[in-house]
Amino acid sequence: MKKQAFKLLFFGSIVTLALAQYSCKKEGCLDSTANNYNWDAEKDNGSCSYDATLVVEVNPKFNGVDISFDSTYMYAQGYLIQFSTIRFYTTYAKVGNGGTYTNANSVAQFNYANSNVLFSDLVTPGSYDELTFDIGVDSVRNHADPSTYDSDHPLSTMSSGGMYWTWNSGYRFVVIEGRFDSNGDQVIDMNDTPFAYHLGLDPYLRTNTASVSMNLVEEMTTVVSYELNMERFFMNATDTLDMVANPTIHMNPGQEVIGEMLTDNFNASLVLE
């Protein structure tokens, strides 16, 4: 007897549930690639919305021409230089509209050896008048464990190779390396002195802000291009870095003044094209 009653109740509820589903067909977006895909909707009501794609490019330049790692450039102090590495991190990129911000990218690593794209990310469509990001890694993620990220994450041990300080756990925010013609023979080869500018440490996180009017449209890609003016990186209104005297800066004690100057210079050298 009891078993019969239970069965009745069970089938009864299934029928009721099914009926309920049919009687009030839920409406919503039925495209699973959309932002607002509604998994329990059954009828598309044309409400699907999609993100826009924002691509940010950076073009390192010297004397107005794109830098090539094969070419040499005349430095402000009258000797040739050649670049071999141009890398940096940006975090918390946002697009703004009248002071209201929308996230654009969490963390990106620029590595000129691989590409001139800083990031390509999905952003909520709209009109914006500002693009901003921090140059470097915020203090929380700066001291997190790089081995816990997937290997393709920009902060992972694998992707951050050469960008991680292992004696003082944290990332190099900016790495600029190359050689300068230290023996004055007008060619740059292994006999010349390498230069290495490794900038970082929490107090040296800088925010870069650019005014740019962008209309980001659903399912469309917008490209924003920056110039990285490497002449500006080495000099400000009053000082030019003397590579001969300071071929390497690792933010060691005693290097605060130059480290800070280069950090601020780097931020100032990254401007919209």
Partner: protein, 337 residues
């Protein structure tokens, strides 16, 4: 009805099968008398397979550029997991600028390196591999090299349920290092195990160690306060110590208080290996050190007599744990089953 019985039956079957196949991988860390429980990160609890993997890596020279140097090249068990060089040579005989410290009870340390730039034992692993004066291998390259060795792939899957990567490398070596627990020295037997083993001279030395302020910095069961001090070794420090990390002038010449366990085996002494013997260390401390604005007020002239100095050295030697340095389990030929 029959169906139900079948389902239950197969569940029972599944469980009984599992029970037979899973071998016991749990690792029981010894906790000597007088020691607190070690704090171990939740993502790296000890298991036998993790410790075995970490030990294998610790002794593997392939982690260095030219496969000539392993962690164990500088951290040798007979010397309390330190060595007897003033500055230990790395690949190509390259020399760094600091003396190799002991790894005795390193699982209890709260911050790593003499200047304290590294917050966890896991992260510490990345440094010697990449350091040009030690193993000189970019870590991504080291991982690619080790991941290509089938045995390591298999051990990684067993230990961490994932392919060999940076997570496995750092976790496994740290797991092995945490097993390097030393707590059966003559000091432990006397003070923590209640046996009467100290000679009169050792007993006097222990009293001096407490009375002369040594135990204010070399404090607790592991003889360290995990803090940084300037002990007036120099008037002008070429190695600026903690200031390298904090950039604060007030940290110049400060170094992490080293544990004194197994100190007899780890000569020479100090961050730069500049003092050759324990007698020289005690002679130095007896003077009260050089003048330095950051020198700790605890470092003062001690006015020790010749026999008191000998007593202090005798006491420091009671911190040697022969069971630890001879424990075959810490060596490469032992596998936890």
């Amino acid at each position: 009805m029959n169906k139900h019985i079948w389902i239950i039956a197969s569940f029972v079957f599944l469980f009984s099968c599992n029970k037979e196949e899973v071998k016991d991988d749990s690792f029981v860390l010894e906790q000597p008398e007088g020691f607190p429980a070690m704090q171990i990160p939740s993502d790296n609890q000890l298991t036998k397979s993790r410790v075995n993997l970490g030990k294998k890596l610790f002794f593997d020279k392939r982690l260095s550029e030219d496969s000539t140097v392993s962690c164990a090249s500088c951290h040798l068990q007979p010397m309390g997991f330190a060595d007897n060089f003033q500055i230990s040579p790395g690949v190509h005989g390259n020399l760094g600028f600091r003396n190799t410290p002991t790894l005795t009870n390193i699982g209890y340390a709260e911050i790593f390196f003499m200047d304290g730039g590294v917050p966890t034992l896991e992260l510490q692993v990345l440094n010697p591999i990449e350091n040009p004066d030690e193993m000189n291998m970019p870590v991504p390259q080291a991982i690619e090299r080790m991941a290509a060795i089938p045995e390591y792939q298999q051990m990684a899957l067993e230990a961490y349920d994932r392919p060999f990567d940076a997570f496995v490398l750092t976790r496994a070596i740290a797991a092995y290092e945490r097993t390097l627990v030393s707590g059966n020295s003559k000091f432990d037997q006397e003070v923590y195990q209640g046996k009467n083993v100290f000679s009169q001279s050792e007993q006097n030395g222990y009293q001096l160690f407490l009375d002369k302020g040594c135990a204010d910095c070399h404090s607790g069961f592991n003889f360290t306060d995990n803090d940084f001090h300037n002990i007036g070794l120099y008037e002008i420090y070429t190695d600026i110590g903690r200031k390298r990390v904090t950039i604060l002038d007030s940290d110049e010449g400060k170094f992490k208080t080293p544990t004194l366990r197994n100190v007899e085996l780890t000569a020479p002494y100090m961050h730069d290996g500049s003092l050759a013997s324990l007698e020289e260390v005690v002679d130095f401390l007896n003077t009260g050190g050089e003048t330095h604005v950051n020198k700790s007020s605890l470092i003062q002239p001690l006015n020790l007599t010749v026999s008191e100095k000998a007593d202090l050295v005798a006491f420091l030697k009671t911190l040697t744990d022969w069971d630890f340095v001879n424990n075959e389990k810490h060596g490469i030929y032992y596998t936890y089953e």
